[in-house]
């Protein structure tokens, strides 16, 4: 009995020693890095870890780009050249975890800027902290327009808000003469901020439109889709992210909506290789929103990213990765322009300057009214596949009209 008891205590002591040792070695490593940039993003449940992982990939490649191509953060006129380093902070999709993670990034890792927030709740909760620490916060993928609407000095919104997305989808749908639009939106901040806005827009624009909000954890969307079928839409707008986006496609076919009714996926999911593996023939004629078209509009940085991403992960980079990559290099450029990593100066530079990102639009943060405060606007395109297993580069551009490469296939 005594043996067993002391054995247990010995194991506990060994475990404690291991923890202390690894923790101290990790801290020692952290001290060697000159300019840290934080990525605050969900990497564990209840957060959307899939999105968080893509954001981290983009940011890490961004740092690599800055170090290899821009020679670190400082430009030649500045005194001390040094590389940038990405430090991850897991927010689990929870406001309070996000606050702790950000405070950890600031106090332990001495970050000079932070990007990556995915959940609007986290972005809104850490916004006051960024003010307190005078830390530039680049909002990578949180979509609530309150974030920029709060008009805080150190927050820079780079994600598309509901209004921009509605503008494009409305114009597209009108130009192709659709009259009945079914919107399926997941119950996350993405779905509940954009879904109702879009429906209102369509109804105000004289179309008939109905909105269904579904629970992201519920894989059985058939009853919802039967209601959609009863509504008899002439186009379906699919606002699922990740698994639900696929489930809506598959189950729409189960109730007989596909392939007859055209469907729009609300982001660039279809450019992923597993899109065709998961959906096969069902992906044919899929319409989707994208923030770029690979043949035409990538900058050198963007091309570099796509190449490196393909090397590392054997697939094209998705919007989440592109956005985080863009944020990282924009932050580095702002530090260059300010010749400093001080928050005040960097955000001053961010407000002042135009920056290169992965697409040709460039990034600028003007202090405009309302929700346009320090918000950079991204162009949105509407693309369509026309045959099964088609490559992203061969997809037809349907919108905007000045870039159009083909007609809608029904």
């Amino acid at each position: 009995m005594d043996f067993e008891l002391s054995g247990k205590l010995a194991i506990a002591a060994a475990a404690a020693a291991f923890l202390t040792a690894t923790a101290t070695s990790a801290m020692a490593q952290a001290n060697a890095t000159p300019v840290n940039i934080g990525v605050l993003t969900p990497l564990s449940p209840p957060g959307d870890s899939a999105a968080g992982q893509l954001i981290v990939r983009g940011a890490e490649l961004g740092a690599k780009y800055v170090n290899q191509r821009l020679g670190g953060v400082w430009n030649s006129t500045c005194p001390a050249p040094g590389p940038v380093n990405i430090v991850k902070g897991d927010d689990s999709g929870l406001a309070e975890k996000g606050m702790a993670a950000l405070r950890s990034l600031v106090t332990n890792d001495k970050i000079a800027g932070v990007l990556g927030t995915y959940d609007s709740t986290v972005a809104l909760a850490v916004q006051p902290l960024a003010e307190q620490y005078k830390l530039p916060l680049l909002v990578t993928q949180a979509s609530d327009d309150k974030i920029s609407g709060n008009h805080t000095k150190f927050t820079f919104m780079t994600h598309t808000i509901a209004r921009d997305r509605s503008d494009v989808v409305e114009a597209f749908i009108k130009s192709y003469g659709f009259k009945r639009v079914a919107i399926l939106a997941e119950n996350t901040d993405y779905g509940t901020s954009s879904g109702p806005d879009m429906q209102k827009r369509f109804v105000d624009g004289g179309m008939s439109s109905q909105l269904w909000i579904f629970d992201k954890t519920n894989p059985d969307l058939l009853p919802t889709l039967l209601q959609v079928k009863k509504f008899a839409p002439d186009v379906i707008y699919n606002m699922g992210v990740g698994a639900p986006a696929y489930l809506i496609v598959k189950q729409s076919a189960d109730v007989g909506l596909l392939p007859k009714t055209p469907m729009i996926i609300s982001y660039d999911l279809p450019i992923r290789p597993e899109f065709w593996r998961n959906l096969g023939e069902l992906g044919k004629n899929m319409i989707f929103l994208s923030y770029y078209q690979p043949k035409q509009v990538l900058t050198d940085a963007g091309k570099w990213l796509q190449e490196e991403y393909r090397k590392s992960y054997n697939e094209p980079a998705l919007y989440s990765s592109l956005a985080a990559f863009g944020n990282t290099i924009v932050l580095a450029q702002a530090m260059n322009a300010a010749c400093s990593t001080e928050g005040e100066k960097v955000s001053g530079a961010l407000v002042k300057g135009g920056f290169t990102s992965w697409n040709q639009t460039g990034v600028a943060f003007k202090q405009s009214d309302g929700v346009d405060w320090q918000r950079s606007v991204q162009p949105i395109m509407v693309l369509q596949y026309t045959k099964a297993n088609q490559g992203f580069g061969d997809a037809t551009i349907l919108y905007p009209p000045n870039m159009k490469t083909g007609e809608l296939v029904r």
Binding site: A50, N218, D220, P223, Y246, L247, K250, A253
Partner: protein, 301 residues
């Protein structure tokens, strides 16, 4: 009318699927008197094993079989059966000691296990969602204008077959008799000479194996990704209460009932309340029939 018919057909198919999802969790609950919180994670592990077997291992071995998906799903079940027994023996059985709060502690162990498996999967599997090729072509019922997803039909049928086999095991074999004895009264079963330790281990293995085969069969329907088990846990809990612990028939009837209530409710009323219809159904049972459909009150010694 066509809508009602289609809704009913789909609900029936879902019923078979829910039944298979819930079988594992109710079986474990009836034998071991614990809630297995890692049900959904074993479902997830099963679906990943199936994905690996079907899309990587079989092609690598040059195996091309007509019903490879069924073989692969059964192999996934076997793998998780063994995994489940190991987990039970090393982690859960020691918590089941007399004098401790067995129910609480064993349940808590499964909670910790689910955190481990879920985050492990996120780390290993990465951010993508996967699917396997459909098991069957869609079936078109032309007169009724109804399309049936081939994978749903195939996995529904496979689910019914597995449930039937499980029924035979439980009601036609001596092992099954032993299980039923334990479900009714653990103390009496032990007095009668049954080795509860072994039986518990077997029960946990079988229960998790059933969850895994559900995950494997449903891979083309509900996809393969680290968080795909949430629905299995949820449906499992609901069906435990509605069907009553320890009743196979109860679980099956409850599964079909739940699928009907959710399906019809969400089709003909507000769709976003889908899961709440199931909860209301369940609360009805808790209030009016707390022992479930076919459950009977536990006998005390």
């Amino acid at each position: 009318m066509q809508l009602l018919l289609q809704s009913l057909t789909l609900a029936l198919l879902n019923g078979a699927i829910y039944a298979l999802m819930a079988m594992g969790i109710t079986f474990i609950a009836s034998i071991m008197r614990i809630i297995n919180w890692s049900t959904g994670e074993f479902y997830m592990v099963g679906s990943f094993a199936h994905l690996a077997l079907l899309t990587v291992i079989f092609p690598a071995l040059g195996l091309t079989l007509p019903m490879a998906w069924l073989l692969s799903a059964l192999l996934a079940m076997g793998l998780v059966f063994v995994l489940g027994m190991v987990v039970q023996r090393t982690l859960i059985a020691p918590m089941h000691r007399p004098g401790t709060q067995a129910f609480e502690y064993a349940t808590i162990m499964t909670v910790a296990l689910s955190v481990l498996l879920q985050n492990g999967a996120i780390m290993i599997a990465g951010p993508n969602q996967y699917s396997v090729p459909d098991y069957m072509r869609p079936i078109l019922l032309e007169d009724l204008e109804i399309v049936l997803n081939g994978s749903r039909v195939a996995s529904g049928l496979a689910a019914l077959a597995i449930i039937l086999l499980f029924y035979v095991l439980l009601y036609r074999t001596s092992l099954g008799l032993a299980f039923r004895g334990i479900a009714q009264n653990r103390l009496a079963a032990e007095t009668a000479g049954l080795n509860l330790k072994t039986m518990d281990m077997l029960a946990f293995g079988i229960g998790t194996g059933l969850c895994a085969v559900a995950g494997a069969l449903l891979a083309p329907v509900f996809l393969v990704h680290p968080l795909n088990g949430a629905a299995a846990t949820m449906k499992g809990f609901e069906i435990i209460v509605i069907g009553g612990i320890g009743s196979l028939g109860g679980a099956v009837v409850a599964a079909f009932g739940l699928a009907l209530v959710e399906g019809l409710g969400a089709t003909f009323y507000r769709a976003e309340l889908q899961q709440l219809y199931g909860f209301v159904f369940l609360i009805g049972f808790l209030v009016f029939r707390p022992q479930g459909l076919f459950g009977h009150r536990e006998r005390r010694v």
